[in-house]
Symmetry: C2
Subunit: 346 residues, 2 copies
């Protein structure tokens, strides 16, 4: 006898009381403020240190700003949030833990690499639909300078990057979910209706300059499972959005579905939206936890509350290696978690 | 109007259909096999590499063994597990992600430092009680050699350790939760009845040799909140168990409650149980995610299924800093998550 009444198919959860997105905010740096989504950010800084002493402390500040702005926009005192799910790319996720030091809310730390926004949103929705919380938050971030020196080389080296690499976004995003329908003057309220939780996929890619390729199979697998589990057709979405595959990974996912006889019509990737690849020197596109977080919590949710987009699938992807594992000649496992966001029209 | 019907007080969750612990396993290394809990481990190895090429790969192997042994003991095919919650201390949590590469189960990655076992157990219980899963698992680990070289210095340096330091356990633990009562020949079945989710606490401790002190206030705060939220008296537990505070942190928690007029009678710390501090050179006691994980999934749950312990509070504690944050002169934030485990008598 199964008690898991909200599980459909292999890996998909269907929320009974789909949580409402009552607040969302995106924070970005200089590059993000020069890109095509600049008007969708709630806060932009041309100072890579965000007035702090280090890039790592700047990243904590970005998470703090994203969370507090999302609460402000929801007209919700921070202390009303029952649970925060947060994580980031820094060793021991210190961008999250140090920012949450300032916010006295129960905190569950995540590590999902660049899939963190979808992982956190799924868990935040599960907590509400399960009856454990009235308000939950998901927060994540990345910082180009902090990530480069931790994962690759000090910026001062000026290493030449190969065309398949992506540019780690200096960005953070946060959303606030609620168990009950908010008062709002917006046309629509986005709700989290489903989540498809991914498995670790490893196809043996070892090239740390080809993260998009390493993660693409995980994206394909979780998307395929989502469609199979839910019975929804890819055509039924206004937008299908992978996390941060960039142009290389986006092409792989498109090709894989094509070989299966499925044309993904409304499909793009957060890594292709954040920057202008013609004018900004980001090679294959954007990456980092902050990429899908800021695109979702800035550009996408803005379009949803205005009714420009009504049904969105966010499939955030993460590369689960470390410099140590790559130094030990390991391949790069990938993961992809999905949340479905549907508009509730007022 | 509140929809969070399972939340009591400020931070405590009360499960309606308290999940059953149907499988548990502990894995340890040489030191753990020489300690007082040696008979409570399901698998012990005198080889610090667990037949792998590196300590990091050994740690993945330990998690894999703990999870597969827990499934075996539950007589559950691994593929029946709906969701695994796992995390560890290695940068980017690679002990978990590489071990889960071998296990095709949906995976939600955590970073809670040494609080991971309680964080994972709480989320695994929430997933079942919320109706999202029938079987969930929580897994975590630590490895002395991998942790030392990542957090402190290469072992070859032979650095002298000061008396307040703790010894990172080379150990892993895993438990399997189920939505329905299992068939068993044991006297009792432990069930997860409550969780109290902690906030980040920072009292300004900067000494990385005094982790127990850095985490003790978080332990005190979450324990105090648990008693206040639930109305349960500390006396009503057969055992109250903090995560890995060691002798320094254990004394601080005892003192804090004492100053509040509360004598914690049945209180000890996983870090005081794992090794024989008279005979083993571990200074203030054990630490690491694997400490509370292996003590819970070996020693404690064995005593529970035999009916020797019936009501246990596990308050696992984590220090949320990184070598980078300490190098940047930051203090050490701590966190503590609690799960209450009650026996269901057959």
């Amino acid at each position: 006898m199964t008690m898991a009444t909200k599980k459909i198919g292999k890996q998909t959860l269907q929320f009974e009381r789909a949580p409402y997105v009552v607040g969302f905010a995106a924070v970005g740096g200089k590059m993000e403020g020069q890109g095509p989504l600049k008007d969708d950010f709630d806060y932009l800084s041309t100072d890579a240190r965000f007035s702090k002493e280090s890039w790592e402390k700047a990243e904590s500040e970005m998470q703090y700003k994203a969370f507090t702005l999302a609460c402000d926009k929801a007209k919700l005192p921070q202390s009303r949030v029952d649970l925060i799910f947060a994580g980031d790319l820094l060793n021991q996720c210190t961008a999250s833990t140090f920012s949450l030091r300032e916010i006295g809310v129960p905190f569950l730390g995540l590590y999902g690499a660049c899939s963190t926004m979808a992982e956190g949103t799924a868990l935040a929705a599960m907590s509400i639909d399960g009856g454990f919380a009235d308000y939950t938050a998901a927060v994540t971030s990345s910082h180009f300078c902090a990530a480069e020196r931790q994962f690759r080389t000090p910026l001062e080296y000026g290493v030449q990057r190969c065309p398949s690499t992506q540019w780690t976004a200096t960005a953070a995003g946060s959303l606030i979910l609620s168990s009950s329908q908010p008062h709002t003057t917006n046309k629509c309220i986005p709700r989290i209706t489903h989540a498809t939780l991914g498995r670790v996929c490893d196809t043996g890619v070892t090239d740390v300059s080809a993260m998009g390729a390493a993660m693409a199979v995980a994206a394909y697998e979780t998307l395929y499972t989502h469609f199979e589990d839910s019975g929804f057709s890819p055509d039924s979405y206004d937008l299908i959005l992978t996390g941060d595959l960039g142009s290389v990974g986006h092409k792989i996912v498109t090709d894989f579905f094509g070989k299966n006889g499925t044309e993904l019509k409304n499909y793009t990737d957060c890594g292709l939206l954040l920057y202008d690849r013609e004018k900004q020197d980001v090679h294959s596109g954007a990456s980092g936890c902050g990429c899908s977080a800021s695109v979702l919590c800035g550009h996408i949710l803005r379009k949803m509350v205005n009714g420009e987009l009504n049904t969105v699938l966010l499939a955030a992807t993460g590369a689960l290696m470390s410099p140590t594992s790559s130094g030990q000649h390991e391949s790069i496992p990938g993961i992809c978690h999905i949340v479905r966001i549907d508009n509730y029209k007022l």
